[in-house]
Amino acid sequence: MIRSRYLPQKVFVEAGSRDFPFTRRILKNLPKVPIEIISRPQELIENIKTMRDAIEEGKKYLLLTRQKGDFIKPCPCTPHYIGCNYYIINLDLNCPLDCSYCILQSYLSSPLITIHVNIEDLWKQLDIFLHKKRHSALRIGTGELGDSLALDHITESSKDLVSYFRRKRNACFELKTKTTNIENILKTDPAENVVISWSLNSYRIAQEEEKGAPPVDERIDAAKRVSDKGFRLGFHFDPIIRYSGWKEGYREVIEKLLKTVDPSRIAWISLGSLRFPPPLKPVIKKRFPRTKIIYDEFIQGKDGKIRYFKPLRLELYNKIVSFIREAGGKEVPIYLCMESGEIWEKALGWKPKGKEEVECSLSFPLDLP
């Protein structure tokens, strides 16, 4: 994707999805894009999957369909490592950005950028879900199976989501992005239980491995504008990637970040080193033949995923935590994504007993009824 906003070459609308108000809004925002009504999206998906680069091909098209199952799912995290008790909302699937390491390349069965248009069902499901969880604080977000804001100029869903969650005080809602697509956010009143987060990386990794994503400085500037508007911020250094000069690379971006935004407005910073399921490796190899990130010293973790050999992970976390602390982020909550208790202990000085403790350490003091 070019750095300008994403525009699909064509929109496919599943026949039963065309009359939803959300569909009409999306199509109104794409006035010049050809539309085709289809009755069997699976045929289209299978057709695209035969292409030489089905993933790239799939990014050219937008599919509007209904979510037939649950919009809300617990974040699968990963077995045998400490999770973070996060819930995900699957409103969009896939992403117009093309990061070499993106797990969606092997995780999703459809390469098409897909928007679930029966958003009314989402509100109903959320009402029930949040009522059931009314006595506990929880974190929930949309940025797991797609970028939360990459399609926001088309969907404007950020406004709806922020407005909805503003009233749900036991939930901390997160929008997670690599883009600078913040116009709708800037037009929306902030809420203390809404966190707008950016995935960040070193300048070099962002440039070489995050095709289509805005440069890191632009992301940080966007975060600053959102913070100035009154939103709290989150940052995800994930995946942290080793390369010659990685220490300097990450220190540089952390210093820039903490000089630009007020650390007291940062709800959390998460750290996760590069990890991936084994089937992703041949996909990366084929789609990004010049990348070297998959040839470092990896082992197969207890969850079956490929991850850096433990001493290398520990070195990454220790350094990055110290960079954050030294650059002015002494009080910023930091958590590790999909790591072992031992690594937590050695990198952060404490070991959560489970995902609920991670949750507790991150949840903003929310009003619980």
């Binding site: 999957k49 035969t50 292409m51 030489r52 089905a54 041949p282 084929k286 070297k292 998959i294 040839y295 470092d296 010293e297 082992i299 197969q300 973790g301 207890k302 050999f309 433990k310 001493p311 290398l312 072992s340 031992e342």
Partner: protein, 308 residues
């Protein structure tokens, strides 16, 4: 038709190589030729369309003349499809046969689109252009390599790795792969490729390095030992920190004189801090003896280094 009338040098419709004639000869000797091979007339010759194993076996035991079916189809693609479907109905194809079939379909003018959608599923291959590309690359492999793939029943994933090497690299790899089983073949190919990509050193250059050449030229080592040694060398290059930690662990066990009858293991890849020991015993006396040995080990100063 006399066997001499079939011009076997023309292999334009042939898809099968590297097969054993033993059983076919036994069959021919026992019950004769039951199904006539299929021939067609091209360039003033009768050439074989289908039935290579049968005809070669007949030639081997000088069984001639033989009954044949003559196809009058002049279109190359349609003629090839006769051979393809006859074989498809009666047997499984190996990896190289699939590659040859796809290559011939393309050569005889079938569109890639139709090959992907119609023929790949028939061959049990995922219906994608990427898979077609990969199989077409197999058909360009050197004959010796094709033979190795067939004889060793090399899986698709390893053959795909081989396709990513240049012909010279594949030639150098051949003697290394020959003595190894499937898993070790794949491991060697992966490690070599990844060391090469990480270090920006061509695989051929890595294979020509002194330590690998010394291993290859060693007169003391059997072919399997040579391959294993090279595999080990590549593994160390690919995983230097892990190898060094394994060395430290092993040398610590030696230093504290860990008894051989008690097995000790770190967690896989040292991912956990756990260390496990196991031993067998037949009675209380043996059990107590092992425990005493373990207690003695635990009292050694260096014992705690096992957990660092």
């Amino acid at each position: 038709m006399s066997l001499n009338q079939i011009f076997l040098e023309n292999e334009r419709f042939r898809i099968s190589y590297y097969f054993s004639l033993e059983r076919m000869i036994l069959s021919l000797k026992s019950v004769g030729l039951i199904n006539p091979p299929l021939v067609c007339f091209r360039d003033n010759h009768f050439i074989l369309v289908s039935g290579w194993k049968r005809v070669l076996a007949c030639r081997e035991i000088s069984l001639s003349p033989i009954p044949v079916q003559v196809s009058e189809e002049e279109d190359e693609l349609k003629t090839f499809l006769l051979a393809f479907f006859e074989n498809l109905a009666s047997r499984e194809f190996n990896l190289i046969e699939k590659a040859e079939i796809l290559s011939k379909l393309k050569e005889f003018g079938e569109t890639e689109e139709k090959i992907v959608r119609q023929f790949l599923p028939l061959l049990g291959i995922p219906s994608t252009f990427s898979h077609l590309d990969t199989f077409l690359s197999f058909s360009g492999f050197e004959p010796e390599l094709k033979k190795l793939i067939v004889k060793k029943k090399m899986p698709f994933s390893s053959a795909r790795l081989l396709s990513e090497f240049k012909p010279r690299g594949r030639k150098l790899l051949l003697p290394l792969l020959l003595p190894l089983g499937q898993n070790k073949q794949k491991e060697l190919l992966e490690d070599l490729q990844e060391v090469s990509r990480k270090s920006d050193i061509p695989a051929e250059k890595l294979l020509a390095s002194k330590e690998i050449q010394d291993a290859l030229k060693s007169e003391r080592l059997s072919p399997l030992q040579k391959s294993d040694k090279i595999r080990f060398l590549l593994k160390r290059k690919r995983y230097p920190s892990l190898s060094s930690m394994r060395d430290s662990f092993d040398s610590l066990l030696k230093r504290i004189d860990w008894p051989k009858e008690i097995s000790v293991k770190s967690s896989p890849f040292f991912e956990d801090e756990d260390v496990s020991v196991s031993f067998t015993f037949r009675n209380n006396v043996e059990f107590q003896r092992h425990l005493r040995k373990l207690q003695k080990l635990a009292s050694k100063k260096e014992f705690s280094n096992l957990f660092k």
